[in-house]
């Protein structure tokens, strides 16, 4: 009886030992293989139609999984040390792969916030994939009509990376139209749009937004002031353009403009500041000393 027990115990030990040894060796080999080769194949490589077909009625779930996969690709890498511990190493990111995962996730669920937010957090920066990011954000914006964030990010990218204040302002103004958009968006958008030579567009969008707002709502008065200021700027810009057409050169100052027949008087500024025209001909309603910062310029 005892011999039988001992024999069974030894057999069990042998089985556990061989299992432990083989699995441990397999894991070590797998870790080593992962260090040298990155997994670049997955469902994200499938054509969109096949991806949709494969997901069936679980598109959302699969999109969720893919964002986790993207997160794993972007996460820190732990490498096993010979001593048996782990250390974190700077990871080499496979940006085209990561972008493909975001695209695949968006094909399955174009409304998922995590996709565009994480994409915005990584792709325009080290990856320098700005056009791709804007595409992702535009799809998100089209599919999240209740969310101002995608357009806001697009506007930020246009301003920060592309140095295009005009288009950035338009995007901010577009974002401002979404329900529950923060009050700073239209004001910021108007400023940028005007800076980028999009004054008329900014005025039109501000007017449409004010038409949908109640005067009692917070931010209404601020938006109205901004609109008045933009309208003032537009009057001056048109006068400056007419002056240039007539005289064959830009006006050197607002005084010269008002002295000519093009502008009878400067329009009122709701911020109680003087309008200013810098050496490039850009009109400011909130920088009366805009010429001071320019070399050799004088204040208006």
């Amino acid at each position: 009886m005892i011999r039988k027990l001992v024999a069974n115990f030894l057999i069990l030990l042998l089985l556990i030992g061989s299992y432990t040894a083989s699995y441990s060796a397999l894991l070590q080999q797998h870790d080593h293989a992962r260090e040298t080769a990155r997994s670049s194949s997955g469902s994200w490589n499938l054509p969109p139609v096949m991806l949709l077909a494969l997901a069936g009625e679980f598109k959302g779930l699969m999109a969720d999984y893919l964002t986790l996969e993207a997160g794993a690709q972007l996460g820190a890498e732990l490498v096993r040390t010979p001593e048996g511990g782990y250390r974190t190493i700077k990871k080499h990111y496979n940006w085209p792969l990561i972008h493909q995962i975001f695209v695949a996730s968006q094909i399955l669920d174009p409304s998922f916030a995590q996709t565009f937010i994480v994409a915005q957090g990584w792709l325009p920066w080290d990856a320098k994939m700005l056009p791709e990011t804007q595409d992702i954000l535009r799809i998100a914006a089209n599919n999240r009509p209740w969310d101002w964030q995608p357009l806001h990010y697009m506007g930020f990218n246009a301003y920060y990376f592309l140095n295009q204040p005009g288009p950035a302002g338009k995007l901010f103004l577009e974002a401002a139209k979404t329900p529950n958009a923060p009050p700073f968006l239209p004001i910021l958008g108007a400023r940028l749009a005007q800076k980028g030579g999009e004054t008329e567009t900014a005025i039109a969008i501000m007017q449409s937004m004010l038409a949908e707002k109640n005067p009692e709502e917070p931010g209404y008065a601020d938006m109205l002031d901004r609109l008045r200021a933009l309208e003032g700027v537009l009057v001056i810009e048109r006068a400056a353009n007419n002056y240039e057409k007539t005289m064959g050169r830009k006006a050197s100052s607002l005084t010269e403009l008002t002295a000519s027949a093009q502008l009878a008087a400067l329009p009122p500024n709701p911020y109680n500041l003087d309008y200013c025209m810098d050496s490039a001909g850009i009109i400011y309603f909130d920088r009366p000393n805009c010429r001071d910062s320019a070399p050799g310029g004088s204040s208006q």
């Binding site: 139609v49 069936g56 009625e57 679980f58 598109k59 959302g60 964002t67 998922f112 937010i117 209740w146």
Partner: protein, 272 residues
Amino acid sequence: MRALRNVWFLALATCTEGIRHRALWAIVCLASILTMANLGVTTLYSWDLGKVSVEFGLSSVAFTGLLLVFFLGMKILADDLERSRIFMLLSRPVSIWQYLTGKFLGLSMILFLATIILGLSAALSMRYVLLQYAAFVPPNFSWLTCIMALACQWLSLVVVLAMSVLCFSFAKQPFVALLLAVSSYLVGQNMELLRRVVVENPQAGVLVGQERLVIALSWIFPNLSLFDKKYAAAYGMAFSGQEFLLLCLYSISYSALLLYFSTLLFKRKELA
């Protein structure tokens, strides 16, 4: 009147048999645990937690429902034939259509019960997540939409069950019936996608010029994607009561049609 009573008695017996089946409770328990896993899964995400929670919960119900249809439902049907249990019923004044309809209704009732249990389980975990992460609840989230999405999920399973009954009616082997039912489900899930690809894409590979064929197929196979309202529930997008009623009508009429054809095919089957 007597015919409907026979259908009801058979449905009741099938439902009782199914409810007492251990496999049903194993699947339901596992699925309930799965819906509770919702709580852990949501914490893996930083945004749109509400959507992740709702979609995970509803997907659990969908997946479990499919398991019940393909494994429990088809097993109950197949056992009737393979173990000659059907003789006990057909030696009574019960017609083939009463037998099939009664079986179908009984299995639908089992699916309904499972959907309710799983839906409640999913709702509990969703409620917890939505309370914990209120900032991430979609602006127009609605429990009514979730309930309607759950109901649509059940209707979809009923259609899949009807397809399974049809496959069971003409296939010689239960395994073949199972394969056919699963294939029909996959086709049904992607029928709308296929139709859009062919109609909108002039370079749709081998399907170029086959628009009519694909449209004809889209009328033959069920359009299961119409019942998929997880996206709407997850993002708080309302879908109209009219659409819901039409889905109910579509599900009932299509299932009735399949049962009709099942009866015709089953009558030609040699039962022994």
